[in-house]
């Protein structure tokens, strides 16, 4: 096979390209050639279609997935030849400079430090200066034995990002500088710090040098200072700013300098807090310190390992790039503050697993895997292995690792725990992310490519259900102290995590802590300056079923030991209680009435108990403020659906009343809700009491009678028969049920074949329903009507309208309601999220364009296909992820497919996609079909999008979502949710401001608050709590009428949930002058342009028609009458 040959060739090149010990400029040039060849391979790799197909089926998820991966890999690869040439140059220069730095005589520590500062203005970046000065050994500098380029740049797995690329340069220190015991008590690190300072001095001293130097911590580890070289930006020969890189120089030592056995994770190497250097076995182990030292020794061994692996396994590098992108999108990095798992760790894990890790010493991964298989297998490994409980020790003797309670992937060949920088919480997060991604990659239906690699999944607001910011004061930090090397912040976090994770129990599924990140600092200071007060950000992923639990059950009173521990942990909050089942348990009771949600009460209590009131007072929470705008503060999940309980109860009563009705010619077969109110998703939950009136809409209900041959075989007659039925039902209901009002109403007066009637049934409790009769014969009759070729166009239009309306209100709405009812009980936060999203659409005056069902589909999609996250457990994540998805949804190219059942097959999905593509082919201008939102209930995909949004409005939705996402990103944790709901009047050509009587209309106010709203209605019993006015909404009728009158020429925007103004945009078609035409659908004025009038004597001939905007606005003002306070026009 052709592909086979190319692979072989590639392997040969790669094997010749590495030579790590000697780094020369010559080699780099050779490497560039290499690069060109590599690029060629990539094109050769794109084989013939058939081969590609067969390969893809086996080794990739699908051929589509493979193609996408290829594009991704090509996209992220920086151009090593063009972009990196300046930095190559600079690297060569640096090497020359470093090689000619003169040696220094051994000097006493204090003396050496002073000397450097005096002559070079360089502070030695000692970790613990006190300890460093108080020693007897001497510090010295001599020429490094080796200079290597390491890391992803050397491996060519660097990834183009918005930021800069770091090029790692490892300087091997001569072994002669160190003594055997230098691994103890930071001695190695002090010598190293001094060496680094001398190196910087030497670089800065050199007259050729124009680079800028600063110190930084390698991977945020504060015992490993390093030097960052940034470009001079002077445009000179050595300026490499065009490469958008910086160079990190860090020291390393040869792997055999120290005894590996002494640096095992269970050994102690820091003796400072223990008095005498007694037997090492009794001392607490210092795994972090040991591993840091080992990492210093294993830089070159790992470089070798990676080169070996990439020559053995062709897809290793690509797999590393994939892993790297995956980690990056989830906020992981080698830096301790980013979780301590970056591309180095990824590559190390993959490379090690290619050599071992499987059963019986075999390797877990095979070199013949494709890059995707390697990637997925590594994910699988990360997801399925718990390396805290079962530390993984490879190629090494057993030692006391399991007791340490840290994630352990011990690579015996290089004597290092690869995961040593990870904290317990970052490890749990990594596991979780790996598991989610794995599920997603296994999901044959979802598009997992974007979610895996493209979407940025680490925005805390979109990732965590609740965030707490805990400022840490120096006093708190000064109490922290540990044997192992650990910053005080890290120790604090450790304690915080222990407390929170024990206290939160099953309320939270994950707790993640992130602290401040240290940047680089100038070379005349020994440590980075701590600016403002640092803060710890705690992110919680909640378990929506448990988070709001009021009573916690502890151990039974008989279990003395556990009960004591429980009491000890919870203090006075713990109380002994007897429960209904007779058990006596230690328990905790939280306040249900408090404004603070229960989960926050738990967190605050724990902080107060463990860290004092000062910490507790300063804590701020982000997340619950998103439930503010529509929900009661502190409403927990169960309460939100409970708000709909009254109407659901009344609905059941209605069903009973109708079913028990006697005297109807046909038996009732089905009665089902089809209104947002009956599926927990209306913006305002229906009021639970009070007489119904203009303040509310009745909830739609569809009733279906048993089949009968006696229905007429004619559409218009069916509609009339329905009226007769409704009249009969009304009569019987009013007779048989007390306190009920039933009124038959008419709709769609301009059509005879659409549904023309409904029945409003109102109970005394305030619940109101609107019944429509479903007749299945209509469907066939409409189809037959549409098939007949002799139908005149106008009739055809009407029939099409009737058909789509039939499908919507009778067929789809019912199943949609049922599906959502089920989902809302399954996902506690679905209902409030949908309501918030609807409120968002309404606030931006999109009520008329984005139907309620469409908004519901958007949110359901976020809950059912939450990738790259899991289903939201808070309103905030649900809402923000919906916005993010809306901002990213390319509706021109992709349909929305919602799978309510979770049982859709690839075939179903493909069928929908085919239908979508067919629509796009028929109507590429998207004049008829814009958004395509299908589901397993509605594979046609147009039910909820047929009447809007139009292309312009859809683009506006995307733009609004984008700017909302940008605002969220910019504001970060300071986000004020209300700001996302403020409409802008600036985007409209004109705005129609409603007079105050009508603008506050329907904002879910209590009826009592609006006695005087309708002056003109006072004859009608004065109140809007009047059954006659049920569902009366003049503003909606006004906007509907406007839309009909100015159909194609003005787009109206309106907030049906209490907007104060209506926005209008002139269609560009209507605004250009055009020649005389009789049936233009807008008011015009004749116009003769000056030049033409001068040329031509007869102005009549050249007059054109222009839209008469002022006249139209006057018309609107006339139509609106007393409802409008003013119209503002831009031009």
């Amino acid at each position: 096979m052709d592909s086979h040959a190319t692979k072989k060739r590639k392997v040969e090149h790669d094997s010749s390209s590495y030579g790590t010990d000697e780094w020369t400029a010559y080699m780099r040039i050779d490497g560039q050639k290499e690069n060109l060849k590599f690029a060629k391979h990539r094109t050769a790799w794109d084989m013939t279609s058939q081969d590609g197909q067969l390969l893809a089926e086996e080794m990739y998820k699908s051929s589509m997935f493979k193609l996408q991966l290829d594009e991704l890999l090509a996209e992220v690869q920086p151009n090593y030849v063009k972009r990196m040439a300046p930095v190559e140059n600079a690297l060569r220069k640096l090497k020359t400079i470093i090689e000619r730095i003169p040696d220094r005589e051994p000097t006493d520590a204090v003396e050496a430090e002073k000397e450097l500062y005096r002559h070079h203005k360089i502070a030695v970046p000692f970790t613990d200066p006190e300890l460093a000065r108080d020693v007897k050994y001497k510090l010295t500098y001599s020429r490094p034995t080796n200079i290597n380029i390491v890391g992803s740049y050397a491996l060519k797995t660097a990834v183009k990002t918005s930021g800069i690329i770091s090029v790692d340069m490892a300087i091997t220190l001569p072994s002669s500088l160190f003594q055997e015991k230098d691994y103890l008590n930071y001695r190695y690190f002090h010598k190293r710090a001094y060496y680094l300072a001398c190196l910087v001095a030497g670089i800065n001293e050199d007259k050729d040098c124009k680079f800028k130097t600063r110190f930084c911590y390698l991977n945020g580890n504060d015992i490993q200072p390093a030097v960052v070289i940034s470009p001079s930006e002077d445009g000179g020969v050595d300026d490499f700013s065009s490469s958008r890189c910086d160079i990190r120089i860090f020291p390393t030592v040869s792997g055999d300098l120290f005894s590996n056995a002494k640096l095992l994770p269970d050994r102690n190497c820091v003796r400072r807090f223990q008095g005498s250097p007694g037997s090492t076995s009794t001392l607490a182990p210092t795994p972090f310190y040991n591993a840091t030292l080992m990492s210093e020794c294993s830089v070159i061994p790992y470089l070798k390992l990676f080169h070996d692996t990439s020559s053995r396994c062709g897809s290793f590098k690509d797999a590393c790039v994939l892993g790297r992108i995956w980690l990056q999108q989830r906020g992981f990095g080698g830096n301790i503050s980013k979780g301590g798992f970056g591309h180095f760790e990824w590559a190390a894990v993959t490379a090690t697993l290619l050599q071992g890790g499987g059963p019986r010493g075999q390797s877990l991964l095979s070199p013949s895997y494709s890059s995707y298989q390697l990637f997925k297998a590594t994910l699988q490994f990360l997801a399925s292995t718990d390396m805290v409980a079962n530390p993984l020790l490879l190629q090494t003797e057993e030692f006391g690792a399991p007791k340490l309670g840290v994630p352990m992937f011990y690579d015996g060949s290089r004597s290092m725990n690869v995961l040593f920088k990870m904290t317990l919480w970052s490890y749990r997060l990594l596991q979780r992310e790996a598991r989610i991604s794995l599920d997603m990659l296994r999901d044959t239906v979802a598009d997992s490519f974007e979610a895996s690699f493209i979407v940025k999944a680490d925005e805390p607001l979109q990732r965590f259900d609740l965030l707490a910011r805990i400022p840490i004061s120096p006093e708190i930090l000064s109490q922290q102290r540990s044997v192992d090397h650990k910053s005080v912040t890290a120790s604090f976090c450790q304690k915080l995590y222990q407390v929170l994770s024990r206290g939160a129990g099953d309320r939270a599924t994950l707790i993640y802590l992130s602290g401040p990140e240290a940047g680089s600092w100038p070379i005349n200071e020994p440590t980075p300056s701590t600016g403002s007060q640092p803060r710890i950000l705690v992110g919680f992923l909640l378990n929506s079923a448990n988070a709001g639990r009021v009573v916690d059950h502890g151990p039974p009173a008989e279990a003395k030991e556990e009960a004591a521990a429980f009491r000890d942990f919870w203090g006075k909050k713990a109380e002994l209680r007897r429960f209904k089942d007779g058990s006596i348990l230690e328990s905790l009771v939280w306040s249900k009435e408090s404004k603070t949600p229960i989960f926050q009460q738990v967190v605050l209590y724990l902080l107060d108990r463990n860290f004092g009131i000062d910490v507790t007072k300063a804590v701020t929470f982000v997340g619950d403020n998103f439930s503010g705008p529509i929900l009661m503060p502190g409403a927990s999940g169960t309460q939100t659906i409970a708000m709909f309980q009254p109407i659901m109860t009344e609905f059941n009563k209605l069903e009973r009343d109708i079913r028990t009705m006697e005297g109807l010619p046909l038996q009732l077969s089905q009665i089902s809700g089809s209104s947002p109110k009956l599926r927990y998703t209306s913006i305002d939950p229906p009021p639970s009491s009070g007489r119904p009136g203009a303040n509310m809409d009745p909830a739609d209900v569809v009733i279906l009678f048993e089949g009968s041959g006696r229905w007429p075989d004619d559409l218009a007659a069916i509609q009339r028969t329905k009226v007769a039925f409704l009249l009969k039902i009304a009569e019987v209901l009013e007779e048989s049920v007390e306190d009920i009002t039933a009124r038959t109403g008419l709709e769609n007066g301009d059509s005879s074949i659409r549904n023309i009637s409904f029945l409003d049934v109102t109970y005394k409790s305030g619940a109101a329903f609107r019944l429509r009769i479903h007749n299945e014969r209509e469907q066939t009759l409409l189809e037959r009507l549409l098939k007949s070729k002799s139908l005149e166009p106008r009739k055809r239009e009407e029939a099409i309208l009737a058909q789509s309306e039939y499908k919507r209100i009778f067929a789809q709405s019912r199943s949609h309601t049922q599906a959502l009812q089920t989902l809302c009980t399954r996902f506690v936060f679905l209902s409030p999220t949908i309501r918030l999203v609807k409120l968002w659409f309404a606030s931006h005056l999109l009520s008329r364009h984005v139907s309620e069902e469409l908004a519901e589909l958007f949110v359901v999609h976020i809950f059912l296909q939450p990738y790259p996250w899991e289903s939201p457990s808070s309103v905030m994540t649900g809402f923000l992820r919906t916005l993010l998805w809306l901002s990213r949804w390319d509706w021109r190219l992709d349909p929305l497919i919602v799978d309510f059942s979770g049982e859709m097959k690839v075939g179903d999905i493909n069928a929908i996609k085919t239908r979508f593509e067919a629509w796009r082919k028929i109507d590429p201008g998207m004049n008829r079909v814009v958004l395509f939102a299908a589901s397993n209930l509605d594979p046609e995909g147009l039910t909820w999008t047929q009447f809007g949004p139009s292309k312009v409005v859809a683009a506006r939705v995307t733009a609004l979502a984008r700017s909302a996402c940008a605002a969220v990103k910019e504001a970060g944790l300071e986000i004020v949710p209300e700001t996302l709901f403020i409409p802008s009047a600036a985007d409209y050509d004109f705005t129609i401001h409603l007079s105050s009587r009508f603008s506050s209309y329907r904002r879910g106010k209590k009826p009592s608050a609006k006695h005087t709203i309708f002056k003109n209605l006072q004859t009608h019993a004065g109140q809007d709590a009047n059954v006659d006015l049920l569902g009366y909404d003049p503003v909606r009728l006004f906007v509907e009428e406007l839309t009909n009158l100015y159909a194609n020429n003005i787009i109206f925007f309106h907030n049906s949930h209490g907007g104060t103004f209506i926005g209008g945009i002139w269609s560009p078609l209507a605004t250009s002058p055009r020649p005389w035409k009789v049936n233009l659908s807008y008011s015009t004025k004749p116009m003769v342009s000056q030049e033409e009038a001068d040329e031509d004597e007869n102005p009549e001939e050249v007059a054109r028609l222009v839209v008469n905007k002022t006249a139209i606005l006057n018309e609107i003002a006339r139509l609106g009458g007393d409802m409008i306070s003013r119209i503002e026009s831009k031009s």
């Binding site: 991704l72 992220v76 004619d714 008419l746 037959r784 006249a1111 009458g1121």
Partner: protein
């Protein structure tokens, strides 16, 4: 725009331009002028009323007969008899289907024609109550203004020629004060009320309709039954619906045909079938791959699809 044309042309494309002053409103104070275009009506199919009819273009959306009456009397024109608004909100003749049914079934039948006339009378009773108190027209629509006689039309034409020298006529003058149903919230309240007609009215309208419909159906059934008996001049009997063994419904037939399809065939019996099947599968794979490739290419063209955020 206005500065470019100090004065609009007095006529356009054979139409007289009639500028009308619009009442400034508290909510929209900008002075606005509406332009009505008028000419003598020339129907494609001439009728006797043509001579006294004006064809109006760009009728204001709220125009009523009263509006035009007052407008023309205001400028010294003739008296308006009636106004026919074209292209306004579609007003369905709710009984069309019945009418058609009857028409189709009663062609050339004298006795039936008499019935037909009776139906016409019933029609009004079968109508559902109107839910709007005043009809509005689409922006920019047209109307036929019929004057009482030819003289009135000519008087109007003369008046129009003089018009424009003096002050512009005010649109809607003379119809204020409840002569036509008001717009604004009152209109919508009225609509809301009209949507719930008294059940007795509704019931009688439905009864009337259904009676007519039943009668028509019966007539049609009779007619069809007759047709089934009568051979045409070639001696053939036309096949029509109904009857004991009438032709099946089309939909039912398709369903049955669908079921029959593919019965009694084996697809993997012969070797060539297997071979072809395999070939087809490979072909599909290749096709899908090509399609995917095209899709990816398309995505690539839209920037950002392959760039990690």
């Amino acid at each position: 725009m206005a500065s470019k044309t100090p004065k609009p042309p007095s006529s356009i494309n054979g139409y007289i331009v009639l500028p009308l002053q619009l009442q400034a409103l508290p909510s929209f104070k900008e002075p606005a002028i509406h332009f009505l275009y008028l000419r003598r009506h020339e129907a494609r199919v001439p009728t006797k009323d043509d001579a006294r009819t004006l064809f109006a273009v760009n009728v204001p959306f709220d125009a009523t007969e009263a509006h035009f009456r007052h407008l023309f009397s205001g400028i010294g024109g003739g008296r308006v008899d009636n106004v026919k608004f074209l292209g306004s909100r579609q007003h369905p003749t709710t009984t069309t289907t019945v009418e058609q049914l009857i028409a189709s079934s009663t062609k050339g039948n004298n006795k039936k024609r008499k019935r037909d006339r009776m139906d016409q009378e019933d029609k009004a009773a079968g109508e559902l109550p109107e839910t709007w108190d005043r009809e509005l027209h689409l922006s920019g629509s047209t109307a036929l203004i019929v004057f009482v006689d030819k003289g009135s039309l000519e008087a109007t034409t003369r008046a129009l020629k003089l018009y424009g020298k003096g002050k512009l006529a005010l649109w809607g003058k003379g119809v204020e004060g409840g002569k036509v149903p008001a717009l604004g919230s009152e209109r919508y309240l009225a609509h809301h009320t009209l949507c719930y007609p008294p059940s007795s009215t509704l019931q009688s309208s439905i009864n009337a309709y259904l009676t007519t419909f039943a009668a028509a159906e019966a007539a049609r059934a009779r007619h069809l039954a007759q047709k089934r008996q009568e051979p045409d001049e070639d001696g053939f009997i036309t096949v029509v619906r109904g009857g004991r063994t009438g032709p099946a419904r089309h939909e039912e037939a398709t369903v049955v045909a669908e079921k029959q399809k593919g019965k009694g065939h084996y697809r993997d019996f012969y070797r060539f079938q297997l071979r072809e099947e395999k070939k087809k599968r490979v072909g599909e794979l290749v096709k899908r791959f090509e399609e995917d490739k095209r899709k990816v290419q398309e995505m690539k063209e839209r920037r950002g699809r392959f760039k990690p955020q």
